[in-house]
């Protein structure tokens, strides 16, 4: 499906709930509200015949920006659908009941960013070590005090940087 046709059909179906932008010949962005997230993904995958590739998330002060990449290979462009899951307790409806290939990326985004994908068939941590604390989300830019590593040496000696100051940083190329 050509880009202009795609933009027209998405706008016709979702109206004011989406904003569409085209940044370069190969990239179309669709910004969507949370409540139509699943419908939008399903529309592009099932009705418009886009392919599901993967997803990503970016942590922000107020929430987590979640995006999925859905290319149209024959027409040589990528559609990126984006939405914003607000903190505290960011949550989104899971698309993996419609697109099976989204199962693992949603699990990864959940365990890294604390985005709860509602109605996900199996929202277990995917990459996390078994002994990692349940409430530790490593990609979030906030760290709880109880998760800070201990800075005390276990041989009783003082830390070098506490005595002599931090060593100078290496030169950045």
């Amino acid at each position: 499906m050509e880009k202009d046709e795609l933009k027209k059909r998405i706008k016709e179906k979702f109206g004011e709930k989406v904003e569409i932008a085209e940044r370069s010949p190969g990239r179309v962005f669709v910004y969507a509200e949370n409540d139509i997230w699943v419908d939008l993904a399903s529309f592009i995958f099932n009705d418009l015949d886009g392919r599901f590739d993967t997803g990503a998330a970016v942590d922000d002060r107020d929430g987590v920006e979640v995006m999925f990449f859905m290319p149209f290979d024959k027409e040589h462009y990528y559609v990126t659908i984006k939405t914003f899951a607000k903190k505290p307790r960011p949550a989104l409806e899971s698309i993996s009941n419609i697109i099976t290939g989204a199962k693992w990326i949603e699990r990864e985004i959940f365990e890294m960013y604390e985005v709860n994908f509602l109605n996900h068939p199996d929202l277990r941590p995917l990459l996390r070590a078994d002994n990692r604390p349940e409430d530790f989300y490593p990609a979030k830019r906030e760290v709880k005090e109880e998760h800070e590593m201990s800075r005390v040496r276990d041989d009783g000696r003082e830390r070098y940087d506490e005595v002599h100051g931090k060593p100078p940083k290496g030169k950045n190329p």
Partner: protein, 394 residues
């Protein structure tokens, strides 16, 4: 009665750790559960603490075999953000190194598959054919793996013109050897019996699971990022995208073998068309924005997404290796096959991380026995031997 067989997290045929739990009823696998993350190194978070130019050195170590693919996709993501056009000579050099990597990766997989099937001669010969290829990579880039070639704006070093005759000579010999290997696979009735109809992944399931690369193309799902989203010199060379019909282990092997011929064709065209010129465009800063880079690695499409806030380090760097999508397809392709085939099917997607060291067998009343790595390989090789005896006794 359904039993659960845990496999992992180390596997005899594959390179990195992964955990499978096979649910079996007798010899038949009825379900599979997979756990990954044993090699999780936090590379995305590490990347956010490296400068833009340091990141290629980091991401080429995401995988030892795909060490051109990840930096290639990363630099294309940053160049997408910048809207930067790379000098033509650099485009050809990038493609040459990438296709040489594809050749050595596919040959490596063919060798491992041969070993697992009991064809140790195939294993030895394939890895022998691979050696001159690695020597060429070392002559051109300085290393057999981890090439440190790709940088934002171009490449770090030029391809010396005096290396070109050696590369062409190596390609001529490799083409003949690949032809020999391909005929050995395509013509062998025992390999047919062992791999045809095993681990089927049809086209609709490829699309549903988001399968990529040879795993997808074997199931007639016609996607290839080199053709569909061409980067650098890929739109300046001619090549065919190899697609098979059934999506079984046999088709996956055939796709990889035939892709070797296409890779040789691409390298020859690049060497012929390459003219002297600059090898890097100047990049002074990375402004705020985001970029997406995709590249067709040997295992499938690699995707890198970067976001910048104008600083000297990425604000966010997302890496998606093709195996992340392809390993999930085992959910569909393994059930319905035997335990002896389960390892072969999981290996057929050429996962970038999966090794099983031993199989734990847990029966319904909690008794546990352990089968070692050697036993699992022996199980697969014994099945091949039984099939071979059936053919030779006819």
């Amino acid at each position: 009665m359904v039993k659960k067989i845990p496999i992992g997290p180390f596997h005899p045929i594959l390179e990195e750790p992964e955990f499978f739990e096979l649910h079996v009823d007798g010899e038949q696998v009825v379900g599979i559960d997979m756990k990954i993350g044993w090699s999780h190194r936090g590379i995305e978070l590490l990347s956010e603490h490296k400068t833009w130019d340091q990141v290629p050195f980091l991401v080429e170590r995401v995988c030892g075999i795909c060490s051109a693919s990840h930096p290639f996709a990363y630099v294309k993501a940053v160049e997408d953000l910048l809207g930067l056009e790379v000098p033509l000579r650099a485009q050809y050099i990038r493609v040459i190194v990438a296709e040489l990597e594809r050749l050595h990766s596919h040959l490596l997989w063919t060798g491992l598959a041969g070993h697992f099937l009991g064809y140790n001669t195939v294993f030895m010969w394939t890895w022998k054919y691979r050696e001159p290829l690695l020597d060429v990579l070392e002559a051109v880039t300085g290393n057999r793996n981890h090439y440190a070639t790709y940088r934002i704006g171009g490449v770090r070093r030029d391809l010396p013109q005096e290396e070109v005759p050696g590369i062409l000579k190596m390609l001529n010999v490799l083409e003949k050897n690949n032809d020999l290997l391909t005929k050995a696979i395509v013509d062998d009735p025992v390999i047919h019996a062992r791999t045809k109809g095993v681990g089927l992944l049809p086209e609709d399931k490829c699309r549903e699971y988001g399968a990529l690369g040879p795993t997808a193309r074997a199931g007639h799902y016609d996607i290839d990022a080199r053709r569909d989203h061409p980067i650098d010199a890929y739109d300046k060379v001619d090549f065919d995208v190899i697609v098979c019909e059934n999506g079984d282990v046999y088709d996956k092997a055939v796709v990889r073998q035939l892709e070797n011929f296409e890779a040789i064709k691409i390298i020859r065209q690049c060497l012929e068309k390459m003219e002297p010129g600059d090898i890097c465009a100047e990049v002074t800063e990375i402004p705020p924005g985001e970029g997406l880079g995709v590249y067709e690695a040997p295992r499938g499409e690699v995707l890198h997404y970067v976001r910048s806030d104008g600083g000297n380090m990425p604000l966010r760097h997302k890496i998606r290796a093709p195996s992340f999508n392809n390993i999930l397809t085992n959910e569909y392709s393994v059930p319905g096959n035997t335990v002896a085939d389960a390892g072969l099917i999981t290996a057929a997607v050429d996962p970038c991380y999966s090794c099983t060291e031993r199989v734990g067998v847990l029966d319904s009343i909690g008794r546990r026995s352990v089968i070692t790595e050697a036993d699992l390989v022996r199980l697969s090789q014994e099945k091949t031997e039984k099939i071979r005896k059936r053919f030779t006794s006819r």
